[in-house]
Amino acid sequence: MSCDYRRKLELYADGEISASEHQEISAHLSSCPDCGGFLVQLLEMKKTVRIAGHRYSAPMELRTALAQKLRPEKVPGMFWRWGLVASSFAISAMAILFFLPRAERHDPLMSEVVDQHVTTLASLNPMDVVSTDRQTVKPWFEGKLPFSFNLPEVGESSPYKLVGGKVAYLRQDPSAEVVYEVGKHKISVFIFREGSGGPELVREHGLPFTVEHWNEGSVRFCLVTDSNQDDADKLAAMLHEANRR
């Protein structure tokens, strides 16, 4: 591979090239397996480094200390509400309380949903129903699952885009897998019957993906994504709002 193309492929993978260069490289990739292989490898590296690199989270006492310094008159609990207020979504006070984190809890089911998400990412035909319209995706599941759920409205201006859905099997039980896009990232939302969970949002730690879950009655919602916590939080809030009973 020529050094010129290797350098350009790095810019291409980083989204740092002009439209004309983009066309040139796309044309080259269609005729050069070596460059195609290099690019896939580079993208895989970027993805694994991004996931593994988010290794440290600020400890609670640091958050509290900073919140107190910035707003000495406020109680620390207000800090948690702040991030949501700053978001572009209208989230109710109920949803804000819903975000208060609770102690870490491990569930072996989480490995299964992560594996299912990765399988979806790697699949050439990942969806059974492909649509950006929730009125198409949601009814498609009717008769296929022993429970029902709602999907939130995502407008044109929303950073989230509905991609589609399919029936997935978790612990050999049928579940809905609904996929959204945010930026270049995909978020799989697994919806299944699970009576043991509570309504609080649980963030799983120690997994290579961002994983969050909570229950709406006896139905559990579980988000898996390689995007950041903030993206997951906002979509979780939208789903929570759409399914409050």
């Binding site: 790095e10 740092e16 292989g37 896939v40 490898q41 996931i51 593994a52 400890p59 903030d230």
Partner: protein, 175 residues
């Protein structure tokens, strides 16, 4: 600073807490030192917020404060003494395998990748963290690190080559 500016700073800065702490941990290798760095960064940022020009990149500004704070710390000063050596030395890490080893990279687990990032010389590690982990544009990385954009590109390319070699070498040795 009036109350409004304080609140403006809070709205801009607090969402950066986790990324800044993550960056500080990767730079210093010590969570206690990272905690101090982040606290100092917030204190300096708040104090200098009046001079921050709205419309410019706040994230790059805060990362730059953190990095400059780190460079004047004891660990940072030790690092500055080895930076030139790092810059000269990393080219020796040439990947000799020409065939793609995609499967090996896919087999790399989180621990291995974190080890690969940790073994990078600091001036390359910081570029990887900002560009690949925080997904900053090249210009934003250049602003945060106070280096030319061309240096960002060359360091990033060399860092990735080094990461790839580390992963392939490590997994290639396993039976």
């Amino acid at each position: 600073m009036d109350g409004r500016s304080n609140r403006d700073f809070e709205e801009l800065a607090l969402p950066l807490l986790d990324p800044l702490f993550n960056f500080a941990c990767w730079l210093s290798g010590d969570s206690d030192e990272a905690r101090d760095l982040v606290q100092e960064t917030f204190a300096k940022g708040l104090k200098a917020f009046g001079s921050f020009r709205s419309g410019t990149n706040f994230r790059a500004w805060m990362f730059r404060i953190l990095r400059n704070t780190f460079l004047t710390s004891r660990t940072g000063l030790e690092r500055r003494n080895t930076s030139q050596q790092d810059e000269d030395g990393i080219d020796e890490a040439v990947v000799t395998q020409e065939t793609p080893e995609l499967e090996l990279i896919r087999r790399a687990d989180t621990e291995l990748i974190q080890g690969a990032i940790a073994q990078l010389p600091p001036i390359f590690r910081e570029v990887v963290i900002l560009a690949d982990i925080e997904e900053m544009r090249y210009q934003e990385v250049a602003d945060a690190l106070d280096i030319p954009i061309g240096t960002v590109m060359s360091r990033l390319a060399r860092a990735r080559k080094h990461l790839r070699k580390y992963i392939l070498d490590t997994l290639g040795k396993k039976p």
